[in-house]
């Protein structure tokens, strides 16, 4: 990836972060922590990787994305809005009574959402079903899914991974946002899910661990996924991330898992994002 492109993506990710913060602030509830940690993944996925067309959100031949960690809907909604699936002002209606933007993704209300999720552990099964379906129908469709590291505590995740490996679903790309935190604290203290790389490998996946806020590393990870075509192995991308990334007072704080910024906190956060924009430009 050239320097210019990397800068463009970095600026885009700042925009995604701003929209996440504005949306959760407007709603007064929501999950900024994990949304911010996955903002770079979403930026890369929707700008460089996934083959979709916002003008035809239901095109049968499109790639699919399933947000297994459904609570980071604000990040998905932000990128879908930027891509033109719906107007960006809709983001300020997040979680409100008349909004199509439900607290967790709903495939029947929001254009661009391929599966209704929110209950942890279930999205990856649906993604595996889509990947199996694509293979069965002989279609060249990639299926992407994003999980949280805390989410891997759900037994269904491992049932799904076993299924994906058993049926050779090399068209399935499982990314895990490894920010090391869950609602009640550090995953290593609440329920240790590590070593995730060895677990996914033992279940029959090809695993790559990357720095999840570095676009060059994300590019490498997705290249690995494409290289796995024909290998009959699902790809797992373990993205080392920081929960709340980009907002100093939210970073690595479990307390910001499911709490929205108030007006004062929003204004402070936006100042930091503005400073980040200046820094990217000057680099």
């Amino acid at each position: 990836m050239n320097k210019e492109r990397k800068k463009e993506l970095q600026m885009y990710a700042v925009e995604v972060r701003e929209l996440i913060l504005r949306a959760t602030n407007s709603s007064g509830t929501g999950h900024p922590g994990g949304s911010l940690s996955s903002a770079d993944y979403f930026t890369y996925l929707y700008n460089e990787e996934i083959r979709v067309n916002p003008k035809e959100p239901k095109a049968p031949e499109r790639d699919r994305f399933v947000l297994s960690k459904g609570h980071v809907a604000p990040a998905l909604y932000a990128v879908l809005a930027l891509k033109g699936y719906f107007p960006a002002e809709d983001l300020l209606t997040l979680r409100k009574i008349d909004s199509h933007l439900q607290g967790h993704p709903n495939m029947n209300t929001t254009p661009g959402v391929d599966m209704s999720t929110g209950s942890l552990g279930q999205g990856i099964s649906a993604a595996a079903g889509m990947a199996k379906g694509a293979k069965h129908l002989g279609r060249d469709i990639h299926v992407y899914t994003l999980l949280g590291d805390g989410e891997t505590g759900e037994g269904e995740v491992w049932e799904a991974v076993m299924f994906a490996a058993h049926y050779g679903l090399d068209n399935l790309c499982i990314a895990v946002d490894v920010n090391g935190l869950q609602i009640d604290g550090y995953t290593k203290e609440v329920m240790n899910v590590e070593p995730l790389d060895k677990k996914f490998e033992a279940f029959g996946c090809d695993v790559i661990t990357v720095q999840g806020h570095d676009f060059c590393e994300l590019e490498k990870a997705f290249q690995r996924f494409h290289g796995n075509k024909g290998s009959k192995k699902p790809t797992v991308i373990l993205m080392k991330t920081i929960k709340g990334k980009g907002v100093s007072f939210m970073e690595d704080m479990a307390g910001w898992h499911g709490k929205a910024p108030n007006d004062e906190q929003l204004s402070q956060a936006l100042k930091e994002l503005e400073a980040e924009r200046v820094k990217i430009r000057e680099e």
Partner: protein, 314 residues
């Protein structure tokens, strides 16, 4: 009485899937390591490329089915009622019911007539669980003819369906000219003193109970209610109006099943006495199907005797 042919509705399910497989390309069948018992193995033998075993991982099977259905396939997923409606309630609710996906759940081994396996495998809660999911169609066939048509109807219906099939062989009382429709009850026998509304294998028992009552001078209407949701309210209300009292019969906890569905309609629209016959908020146990049905008050003789004890029947 002439010898009646008996077939377990799980056998009908397997055979109907195979028939469906011959007629359609988009049907896929999944099982969780019970293909021999659920009879999906019949489909597997005929169409191995459209059969996906999921291993002993029912929750994932429900989610995979949701994903397959978004690709335009029509998945039928099977295991015992206990491990689908029971174990996967939340996957069915959130991954299938909430997005209203076109997944068909074929749950075999419903009720206490599972027999010797005992209470852990005898699901008497599935109607209650599945009825409570918005948009879910809940069905239970009375015999082989109805079960085979139900599978076809579920395929033709766009949306989630739950079907409960039985393990034990059950009398076939429908002729091949019978026409099953989702949401339609069938008056199996006319009568005006009391209406018996039954579902699944209890319909045959209710017919036999009506025979016993007839000998005692009581004219019982027997209604077969293969669709528990959406309920055929018209037939229930006619029964309330014309018979004045209703007895429901189901191989399910009396809490949350057919009986309470009927109560809901009757109490809101035409209050009459409704007496619920079923499993009285208890767990089952090991034994033969026939012994269990007798012990739990669900054979024809018990049903007739229980109806005779009602104050309104004296």
């Amino acid at each position: 009485m002439a010898e009646t042919k008996k077939i377990a509705t799980r056998e009908s399910y397997g055979n109907a899937l195979k028939e469906l497989g011959a007629k359609t390309e988009n049907v896929v069948v999944m099982d969780a390591d019970l293909a021999g018992a659920t009879k999906t193995g019949v489909f597997k033998a005929a169409y191995p490329d459209r059969f996906f075993d999921c291993g002993i991982a029912e929750a994932n099977m429900a989610g995979v089915a949701a994903g397959l259905s978004t690709m335009g396939l029509v998945p039928f997923i099977s295991t015992f009622a206990m491990f689908s409606a029971g174990r996967c309630f939340e996957q069915i609710r959130n991954s299938i019911g909430y997005p209203h996906l076109n997944v068909k759940i074929g749950a075999t081994h419903g009720g206490i007539s599972v027999g010797e396996d005992g209470a852990s495998h005898q699901c008497c809660e599935d109607f209650a669980l599945m009825r409570s999911i918005p948009g879910m169609v809940v069905m239970c066939p009375a015999d082989d003819v109805e079960a085979r048509q139900m599978v076809q109807a579920a395929y033709e219906y766009e949306g989630p369906c739950y079907m409960r099939f039985g393990r034990a062989a059950t009398p076939v009382f429908h002729g091949e000219d019978y026409k099953f429709q989702i949401g339609r009850a069938e008056i199996v026998r006319p009568g005006g003193d009391v209406a018996l509304i039954a579902t699944g294998i209890m319909v045959s028992e209710a017919i036999a109970a009506a025979d016993i009552l007839a000998e005692q001078g009581i004219s019982a209407r027997v209604i077969n209610m293969p669709t528990i949701k959406p309920l055929d309210e018209k037939v229930v209300l006619e029964a309330a109006k014309e018979c004045g009292k209703i007895v429901t019969v189901e191989e399910h906890n009396i809490l949350g099943g057919l009986g309470e569905a009927v109560c809901g309609v009757v109490t809101e629209q035409r209050p009459v006495l409704v007496h619920r016959i079923g499993v009285r908020d208890k767990f089952g146990r090991s034994g033969s199907a026939a012994e269990l049905l007798r012990q739990f008050g669900l054979c024809a003789e018990n049903i007739a005797a229980e109806i005779r004890t009602l104050d309104c029947m004296k």
